[in-house]
């Protein structure tokens, strides 16, 4: 078990580092996909089989496909702009990272190895196993029905919102501002065309 944890953890961290260190977004995306799959493996070591499967279906199979789709649609090869006005953020990032790692050290030192089980809402009922479809379904459609419904409303809003945003509208620059000269020219053209068709018609 420890070997599995170390393996998956190493893959996850390597993928995550890939996400932030690559200049090319498609490499970042592949790094993130690797991390997500490794996390699914870690969920399996935590007896969360349903969540592990959903992790791959939803995150790796749907969300990341969308990311890759957009990267391909916009055909971004390299980072096209090298302007970096907020370079000071990089110097902010280093101490923050150190602070967070200090927090990790604190966590490892302080957290006890076996916390007492708390009897509370959402505890696994007798006869059910943690992490199976049945136990999660039971909790989701009884105790946590309201959050579940709220999520579905959120997703509906997201569908409508993204449809509205991504629809190709005529922007201001595309709406042609018609000047008087253009109208005149168009009218002249039309008259010319009319003449031509008339002459052609007369020829027949």
């Amino acid at each position: 078990m420890e070997i599995l944890f170390i393996l998956f953890a190493a893959i996850a961290v390597a993928g995550a580092l890939n996400v932030i260190l690559q200049r090319n977004p498609i490499y970042s995306a592949i790094g993130l996909i690797v991390t997500l799959c490794a996390l699914a493996g870690l969920f399996l070591t935590l007896a969360a089989q349903f969540i592990a499967a959903i992790q791959i279906i939803v995150y790796a199979g749907a969300i990341m496909v969308l990311f890759v789709f957009v990267i391909m649609l916009l055909n971004i090869r390299e980072e096209e702009s090298k302007i970096d006005r907020q370079r000071y953020l990089k110097w902010l990032a280093a101490p923050l990272f150190v602070a967070l790692l200090a927090e990790v050290y604190f966590v490892i030192r302080v957290v006890s190895y076996d916390p007492k089980p708390l009897p509370a809402q959402g505890a696994v009922p007798p006869g059910q196993i943690l992490g199976t479809v049945e136990s999660i379904g039971n909790a989701m459609f009884t105790t946590y029905l309201l959050p579940f419904e709220a999520t579905s409303v959120l997703i509906l809003m997201a569908i409508v919102g993204s449809m509205l945003l991504a629809r190709r509208e005529r922007t201001v620059s595309e709406v042609t501002i018609v000047t008087a000269e253009q109208i005149e020219a168009a009218q002249l053209e039309r008259e010319d065309e009319a003449h031509e068709t008339e002459t052609v018609g007369a020829g027949h």
Binding site: V19, I20, L32, I83, L96, P115, A123, G131
Partner: protein
């Protein structure tokens, strides 16, 4: 049994990598991916606690976080597409005006 602290430590490392990524990266799509990474780090703690407290609640939270992340990705990527159409850039520093 793997101790809980291992999972928490891994999660903290992933989260901090995500934070650093948000600060360092200037590409909107890469920023977005770093946010997803942070969400996933938090998911790991949820699942780990759910295992060690023997409760389903943590896993349900993860489920809902995933649904929210999916919604967020759909809307966010739609915004990115319209940003790219209007500005021809994906650099967040160049998209700093409210008007076109």
């Amino acid at each position: 049994m793997i101790p809980l602290s291992w999972y928490l430590a891994l999660s903290a490392v992933l989260f901090s990598i995500g934070v650093v990524g948000v600060l360092v990266q200037r590409n909107v799509i890469a920023l977005f991916m770093c946010i997803e990474l942070m969400l996933n780090a938090v998911n790991l703690t949820f699942v780990a606690f759910s295992r060690f407290l023997d409760q389903t609640t943590g896993q349900l939270f993860v489920f809902i976080v995933m649904a929210v992340a999916a919604a967020e990705a759909a809307v966010g990527l739609a915004i990115i597409i319209s940003l790219f159409r209007n500005r021809e850039t994906l650099n967040v520093d160049e998209a700093d005006l409210l008007k076109l």
